[in-house]
């Protein structure tokens, strides 16, 4: 494996020497970083167009209220204001409501009622951002306050106010019921089991909080009828199709450009009312219009994540063989069901709650409800609800260990799936592709020095000090997905890839997925480089522009490498096949006599006779003859439909110290061993893992979008919604095992969300382990000093 030498000068950073880099997989600096670290990134707010106007949105101060009147005359009279639009005005154009990603509808601007604090009520377009914001204060809205539903646990109470009276015949706040697994078989196993442990737990509402908030610049050209929309989207193609369907604009006249994106984490998967408002404003003013939300708007109105109230049950024999898991989940979807998940999976991939264990039975039932809180759901690096599933199973296993009085590592080791069991079909029907879970666990234990840690803990307990060790052995399910099972609003979850080899042997690869920091411009160049022997520096990766890239569903759910990465490898192989035919002509041998040697074809048995891929590229475009029947050029395209998801796994160990006097938790060590199959760029993988671990520590210890009983959001700034900093996370210790995916062309499984999914239970398990002397078996996140201290007193309540 090639290591990266430190560049000596600024000049070297810009013109990196290819020799420092692997041709293909291996550690190399990210191609996109020079522009980011030098401030040359081009984010949404950097888009400046001639004559551009600015849009600001008036939002509801109340969680639940009927709008009785809106007076916009004063705002219209503001000298810099060009346009003021209300829901009633949108309704005239049939644009007041839009479909969500879950076949619900969401108000673009409220017409009848406001249903959460922060909901869009009207918008102003003005000459500058300040004037637009000032004019909002000139709009006079009168509301008739209604009782809100804030706690999902009371959403289905008979006297609960009906939030969605816009829906025909809607008489309650119920969205759906969903179940998976075999209820009766599970009941039988539970009835006969030696040990049954039950535990209620909540996964609080959290927010992705990307550094860049959401925004759009809509630029409608009334002469040629073309709309160009710059927007912070993780899925430019899917968005374009949805705009075409909703707004009635022809799809070929829409161009969606996703410029550099300052973090997505799922927050930039949905279409927000603000994007639609910007489009409407550009249509009405015939000018480019920018909408860029501020931090508070992002935290209070855009897609949240989690908000699951879970009841878990685990059945086992008395010697610790886990038999079955059962759960009931109450899911809070906010005021509109804006969850982003494949249509057939209303609970996302929560069905993988069987975890990494060999069970006899499993069953889950879920009820989803409306509340007067911001809509959305799923968002935040969770692989479609696997975060919740992993949290449930990894907490339940620890609760079982607690009751049985056994070491949580030994309990896991006894129940982990064995390599020979793969492909393994879980009791909820998911087919895990591959893994060597015990090997991954053993590697984590080795790095941690587990036995020594337990000895240290025992000594500390003697002295009254609180130290905890938490384990999580999780299975992820990513790479959605096979088109027979998975679509979003009817769009199959496949991804295209186009590859052009230019005459001089340089290449351009065009992706349907979009990077928000994951390093696609490097990883995809490496994938193609590995297949064709072209240095990654010679491969330009184009993404995020629907006019320049093939169709596909975008980047979320850790799907880029499993889906688009496969497409990139396959399109390169297609080119290699054609290159082989051209090479056979150039070397005057039959195709069968050629051997591929990463970057050139050689004649078998005569290694001196060879042509490089660059020579072949010139021949493909050149004047000379090509073999009979072969077209010129060296371009290809594929659309990849995965046959299954990929299933990365990991073993995480967290070590914490808890101050017995204050309840304050310090994460002292975090060991993360990931198996994501083939590793393309280990440095990028480590970066993804580091970020995800920080996310996980944040959720476990401090993050939560909370509300008061009137539905006021109490987390509307980053002073209130706490994100972890470098001071709250330790120096991470990462490791790996490699079990390639058998069905993926290069065996890669994806790793983008593994750490976010796998780390929260490790942290919570560690804190609970530290509190063992107090007899604590469970406490809900976020484990703030206050909540930890209350757990020690036996008074901790679930978070609301």
């Amino acid at each position: 494996m090639t290591t990266v030498a430190e560049p000596q000068t600024a000049r070297e950073t810009a013109f990196v020497d290819n020799d420092l880099h692997p041709v293909g997989h291996g550690r190399m600096l990210r191609k996109e970083d020079p522009r980011f670290v030098r401030g040359r990134g081009h984010y949404l707010d950097d888009v400046q167009l001639p004559g551009m106007l600015h849009l600001a949105i008036l939002r509801s101060p109340l969680a639940h209220a009927r709008i009785t009147s809106i007076d916009i005359t004063a705002a219209q009279a503001h000298p810099k204001v060009k346009l003021v639009v209300t829901g009633a005005m949108l309704a005239e154009k049939n644009l007041a409501w839009m479909p969500t990603l879950s076949n619900d509808v969401q108000a673009v601007l409220a017409t009848d009622k406001v249903r959460f604090q922060g909901q869009e009520v009207a918008f102003v377009v003005a000459e500058d951002r300040y004037a637009a914001r000032d004019a909002l204060e000139l709009i006079d809205v009168t509301y008739e306050e209604l009782r809100p539903v804030i706690d999902a646990r009371h959403a289905l109470d008979p006297d609960a106010p009906v939030i969605r009276d816009d829906l025909k015949d809607k008489k309650d706040n119920h969205i759906f019921d969903w179940e998976t697994g075999d209820k009766d078989a599970t009941e039988k196993v539970f009835a006969a089991a030696d040990v049954v442990v039950t535990q209620d737990m909540a996964y609080p509402r959290v927010h992705p909080a990307p550094m860049e908030t959401c925004g759009a610049v809509a630029d409608f050209d009334s002469v040629n009828g073309k709309l160009t929309l710059y927007s912070t989207t993780q899925a430019p193609h899917a968005h374009r199709t949805l705009y075409a369907i909703v707004a009635g604009l022809p799809e070929h006249k829409i161009r969606v450009i996703s410029p550099d994106i300052g973090g997505g984490f799922g927050n930039k998967v949905p279409i927000y009312p603000g994007y639609v408002c910007a489009i409407v404003a550009s249509l009405l003013t015939d000018k480019p219009v920018k909408w860029m939300e501020d931090r508070s708007e992002n935290l209070t109105s855009t897609s949240f994540a989690r908000d699951y109230v879970m009841h878990g049950e685990i059945a086992a024999t008395k010697d610790g063989k886990i038999l079955a898991i059962r759960t009931h989940v109450l899911a809070d979807h906010g005021a509109f069901n804006g969850q982003a998940a494949p249509v057939k999976y209303p609970a996302g991939f929560f069905g993988v709650f069987c975890g990494s264990y060999d069970l006899e039975a499993a069953y889950a039932h879920q009820t989803a409800v409306y509340t007067n809180k911001a809509p959305g759901g799923v968002a935040y690096a969770c692989s479609f609800r696997i975060t919740e599933a992993v949290y449930l199973v990894e907490r339940m296993v620890d609760c079982l260990a607690f009751e049985l009085g056994v070491d949580p590592v030994e309990l896991r080791r006894k129940n982990l799936l064995r390599p020979e069991q793969f492909p393994y079909t879980t009791k909820t029907g998911w087919v895990y592709d591959s893994g060597d879970y015990v090997a991954t666990l053993d590697e984590a234990l080795r790095i941690a020095g587990y036995d020594e840690l337990r000895r240290e803990q025992a000594a500390k307990r003697e002295r009254g000090e609180l130290m905890g060790i938490g384990i999580s052995t999780f299975t992820e399910a990513v790479g959605a997905g096979p088109r027979k099972d998975m679509d979003i609003l009817g769009l199959g979850m496949n991804d295209g890839c186009e590859l052009r080899i230019h005459p001089t042997g340089k290449a351009t690869v065009r992706l349907s997925v979009q990077t928000q920091g994951q390093g696609h411009e490097t990883t995809f160049a490496q994938i193609v480089g590995e297949e064709l022997g072209i240095p990654p520096a010679d491969i330009e990766v184009v993404h995020g522009d629907t006019d320049q890239t093939p169709f596909g569903l975008g980047t979320y759910g850790s799907r880029s490498t499993p889906v688009s990465g496969a497409a990139a490898a396959l399109v390169a192989r297609k080119i290699r096949d054609k290159a082989r035919i051209i090479a056979s002509g150039m070397l005057e041998v039959s195709v069968a006599d050629l051997e591929w040697d990463k970057g050139s074809f050689r004649v078998a048995g005569d290694p001196g006779k060879a042509v490089t891929i660059q020579e072949i590229a010139m021949r493909a475009h050149g004047a000379g003859d090509l073999p009979e029947g072969l077209e010129g050029g060296l371009d290809a395209e594929v659309c990849y439909n995965p046959s299954n998801l990929t299933y990365p796994n990991g073993a995480y160990i967290c070590v914490v110290d808890v101050d017995p006097g204050t309840g304050k938790v310090t994460v002292r060590r975090f060991i993360a061993v990931d198996d994501c199959g083939t590793r393309i760029n280990p440095m990028i993988i480590e970066g993804q893992v580091h970020g995800g671990l920080a996310d996980g520590i944040g959720m476990a210890l401090m993050e939560m979008i909370s509300f008061d009983e009137d539905g006021n959001c109490l987390s509307g700034s980053l002073m209130d919604y706490l994100l972890p900093t470098a001071l709250e996370v330790p120096a991470f210790e990462t490791g790996f095992t490699v079990t390639p995916s058998p069905h993926h062309p290069i065996g890669a499984k994806g790793v983008g969300e593994s750490a976010t999914v796998g780390s929260p239970p490790a942290v919570v398990n560690a804190v609970i382990d530290a509190l063992r002397p107090y007899g604590v078996r469970h406490a809900d996140m976020p484990l703030t000093p206050s909540r930890v201290w209350e757990a020690m007193q036996g008074t901790v309540q679930p978070p609301i």
Binding site: D134, D294, L714, S715, P724, T784, S786
Partner: protein, 310 residues
């Protein structure tokens, strides 16, 4: 980007000039020092003013830390960072070092001032708690001259002070007494966050010959350790930072011991008025008032003892 409502902007070039502007503009105007408390509120449009009077040019006049035998004087425009980097100040009052380490982040500390901290009158303000603990007094100037107000009278409720709309705070004074030790203890949910609760302690020892009273501290080079005086100040457990006189009364004249700290902690818990909020429950904050009071006293006494020894 969050943008404040429109306002006019003036730069004061002298203290009298600033006061003159305040008199002319009345309560439509607000002074801005470091701006780290005021501007976030303006950006959230929780506070709107017609005029901002920028007093940063007064840093030359009001940015200082001076020492006399009886007193330390800190100018209102002295920045967090200048306080944190004054070795002389930290030697006299190590409590500043403890507090400054846990106030916000370097960006805020580079600009935020002691005057702004006190005038913000946030119940969780760490420097206010330090001033409360040390029994500081505040010099307030108006066109009619100066008046000096003790900390106990400076804060009039959350976000309210004794400074009138046409006055400004110019200086904070701290009495120096011998054999002092001080310390600050804060629990926050995350680095840079406001206190869930915090406690400051300041103690002054009387160094008397061995055996004259109380127990002998073997570590103390033959001196008996008796508390001549002690003060505890709490943050984030009431409408303002508060000093607890009953603790001083209970500690004065006593020999430091774990039992004594426990008694002080108990009094702190009894005399505070925390509320439940996302930072923590009222019960927890009450517990912290106790726990952190004990810790701060323990550390303050240790520091004072070290001083007596040297």
């Amino acid at each position: 980007m969050q943008v404040p409502a429109p306002f006019e902007y003036e730069r004061a070039t002298s203290v009298d000039g600033a006061i003159g502007l305040l008199e002319r503009l009345g309560d439509t105007a607000k002074l801005v020092a470091g701006g780290h408390s005021l501007l976030p509120m303006m950006k959230l449009r929780l506070a709107n003013f017609e005029y901002l009077i920028d007093i940063n040019d007064l840093h030359g006049d009001l940015g200082y830390i001076t020492f006399t035998a009886e007193e330390v004087r800190i100018g209102a425009m002295t920045r967090h960072r200048e306080i944190a980097e004054s070795a002389e100040l930290l030697a006299v009052f190590p409590i500043f070092a403890d507090a400054e380490q846990v106030i916000a982040d370097p960006v805020v500390r580079n600009r935020g001032t002691i005057g702004g901290s006190l005038c913000q009158a946030d119940p969780a303000e760490d420097l206010s708690a330090v001033c409360t603990t040390l029994g500081a007094s505040c010099v307030i100037r108006g066109s009619g001259g100066e008046r000096v107000v003790p900390m106990a009278e400076f804060h009039r409720g959350p976000y309210e002070t004794a400074v009138g709309t046409t006055e400004m705070l110019t200086e904070v004074r701290f009495p120096i007494r011998p054999y002092a030790g001080s310390a600050y203890e804060k629990v926050e949910r995350r680095a840079g966050d406001w206190a869930v609760a915090a406690a400051g302690a300041a103690v002054w020892l009387s160094s008397e010959p061995r055996g004259s009273r109380g127990r002998t501290d073997s570590e103390n080079d033959g001196h008996d350790v008796v508390l001549a005086d002690a003060r505890v100040g709490l943050a984030a457990v009431g409408p303002n930072t508060v000093e607890i006189p009953s603790i001083s009364a209970a500690l004065r004249g006593q020999t430091p011991s774990e039992e004594l700290y426990a008694r002080a902690g108990e009094l702190a818990a009894q005399n505070c008025h925390p509320v439940t909020d996302p930072r923590g429950s009222a019960d927890y904050k009450r517990h912290l008032a106790d726990e952190l009071t004990r810790r701060a006293l323990r550390r303050a006494v240790q520091r004072a003892t070290d001083q007596v020894r040297s």
